[in-house]
Symmetry: C2
DNA sequence: TATTAGCACTCTACAACGAACAGTGCTAAT
DNA sequence: ATTAGCACTGTTCGTTGTAGAGTGCTAATA
């Protein structure tokens, strides 16, 4: 591809992203102050169309980018270092360091969605997969016990259950120690059934606690899908964009955002690899999201995947703004989350 | 209003609710197996129109209900005991009693939204307003402290903060006792600033803890709006209804659902009074929601307002199904939530 | 050989028009 | 009080026509 073609393609896509209107040769010669006529540009556009980067909505309409065109544009952006600066986001990001990871991520997503017209997405960590560091059990009431699970993210989950028989805090401490010793480094919610059953036999004194605890954990596990799900912010702004005039499409996208099984898995799988942080149109392999693009960035804590934040918008997304924004914010969140263990 | 008029009005509204099409005299004589002609029904319809219960979309179209018509219909439904039975909901509502109130309410809303094509709304309790029952502080790590606040709902909130200096669990217990003694019955998050400042002077030994704690509580308070907000489930199904063909209107409703300041206040104010659990169209006093109706029911725990669940849908809502459903579910949730203290 | 001007051509968007139709209001008869 | 009949009204939907944007091609030009 020649240099002039690249310039034209870039300008064409950038223009379409801004206007949502098919771009024609005339407009392009105006925008680029080229010393060529519209006819020349037309020829180049035709070449770019045969190359598969642009397409016409109908015979002799202006051109709009194909998915491949967007892909080229995005890769081009990432290559060049001339990313538009994302300034003064920090002031809005006064993240409360002691907040839990989940809350923090959601807060950040809310802030992020306020910075643009797209939907911010957070994938909160799957707590059922996180490795246990230590268990604390606290007697709250006569028979009410608070279980605190510290995990390898430096984060913690809690839940409450009711004892069948009275126990002292000392006894609970012992039980906590036993569980911690057995399960450190293991995913608590996933392994607890096996381990707790075993402990019932091993420590008949505390059999009752282990049994009840196991019961409650099992019950909690039925909430699994709830806890693993993604959260979204800023849908209302997004659906005001012209591409969402089409009700059918809007419906499709909202359905995926709400059911979120597909997106959850997609994000989970995508953030593992370093490349491909942008998903465009057909790359979703999902008809309902074919008109959308997704920019996603993982958030790690202590080297462990702690979730992800991202942006879902129309394919005609302001990539040059969103990509660095998401990157910067995720870096910052990561920084904050990691910090909170020392402070 | 005569008996026949009532029957016609009820049937007309019920029909419109089902079909979303203006109902004409011909259809009504078919539906009701009256021994009268369509002309007679037409006359009655005209009367009902002058009474303000029905209106025409245009000259000589069929009739659709006015807001007043819906209001009459709803009040009529509540009066008569012939509410359609809501069956077999229980099986879907295996509420985990030990879950926190907030999680429970959200879970229930999710289930509820699966039972219909409208949006389920939960108003979770404003934890900043809840009265404190007892404070527990647990040393998690060397300098990490978990604070557990039990409140008057039988529910609890937790947060973690970092100590500036090392403290033993015994010391923390003492601090917890001091705070509990001072603040029992008070809204913790609202009053803590004043009280903690005072405690800094009163117990110079622990001044540092009180100071740090106060700092953290203050920080947490900036999340206030986040915590008070409503949650919604099932938007995607709702926007597939014919009334949401209009993009402008869909946008408006989604905006209100997302910004949710208005709805939060509306629900808060409405659930205080025993009457008026149904809000119809203009009764919202909000243009954006003029095409919607809301059925809402409070959820109490220990006699204290613990939140609310409700349903937002088009004015053409299946009131005869939704009203008893919401009522039944909220009763049940209330039951579960209250139970969990004894079990 | 690369570029350009010019022109015919294609397709859309949009408004205007008309027919089909559903449902009414009115009147006169029962 | 009810009804049959009919004229009337306004919607909906498909058609048609026009204006306009933008292209592709060709022949001329540097």
């Amino acid at each position: 591809m020649e240099k002039r073609q690249k310039i034209i393609l870039k300008e064409a896509i950038a223009n379409y992203i801004q206007s949502a209107e098919p771009v024609g040769s005339k407009l392009l010669v105006e925008k680029l102050n080229f010393s060529v006529s519209s006819a020349t540009v037309r020829n180049e556009l035709k070449t770019l169309e045969t190359l598969g980067f642009l397409k016409q909505v109908y015979t002799s309409s202006g051109r709009i980018p194909t998915d491949e065109g967007y892909r080229w544009y995005v890769d081009f952006l990432e290559e060049s270092d001339t990313l538009s600066p994302v300034s003064a986001v920090n002031t809005q990001l006064e993240i409360i360091a002691v907040q839990k990871v989940k809350t923090t991520l959601n807060h950040v997503a809310k802030v992020m969605s306020s910075l643009m017209d797209y939907t911010a997405i957070v994938l909160t960590p799957d707590i059922y997969k996180m490795a246990l560091k230590v268990v604390h059990m606290v007697l709250l009431d006569l028979n009410k016990v608070l279980v605190v699970l510290l995990n390898n993210l430096g984060d913690n989950q809690e839940f409450v259950f009711n004892l069948r028989q009275r126990m002292s805090q000392d006894e609970l401490n012992k039980v906590s120690q036993i569980i911690t010793a057995k399960m450190e480094g293991m995913p608590f919610f996933e392994s607890s059934d096996l381990v707790l059953r075993h402990l019932v036999n091993e420590f008949p004194n505390y059999a009752s606690v282990f049994e009840v605890l196991n019961q409650e954990v099992e019950r909690l596990s039925s909430f699994h899908e709830t806890r693993e799900s993604i959260n979204v912010h800023g849908v209302s702004k997004m659906i005001q964009l012209p591409e969402f005039k089409n009700v059918e499409m809007t419906k499709n996208v909202l359905t995926e955002l709400e059911e979120n099984r597909f997106l959850t898995e997609l994000i989970s799988s995508h953030i593992c690899r370093e490349d491909g942080r942008v998903v465009i149109g057909k790359e979703f392999n999902n008809e309902k999201l074919e008109e959308c693009s997704l920019v996603i960035s993982p958030v790690k804590s202590r080297g462990v995947q702690a979730g992800a934040i991202g942006v879902l918008g129309p394919k005609r997304m302001k990539y040059s703004y969103v990509i660095p924004l998401v990157k910067q914010i995720s870096d910052q969140v990561q920084h904050y989350i990691s910090d909170r263990d020392d402070g």
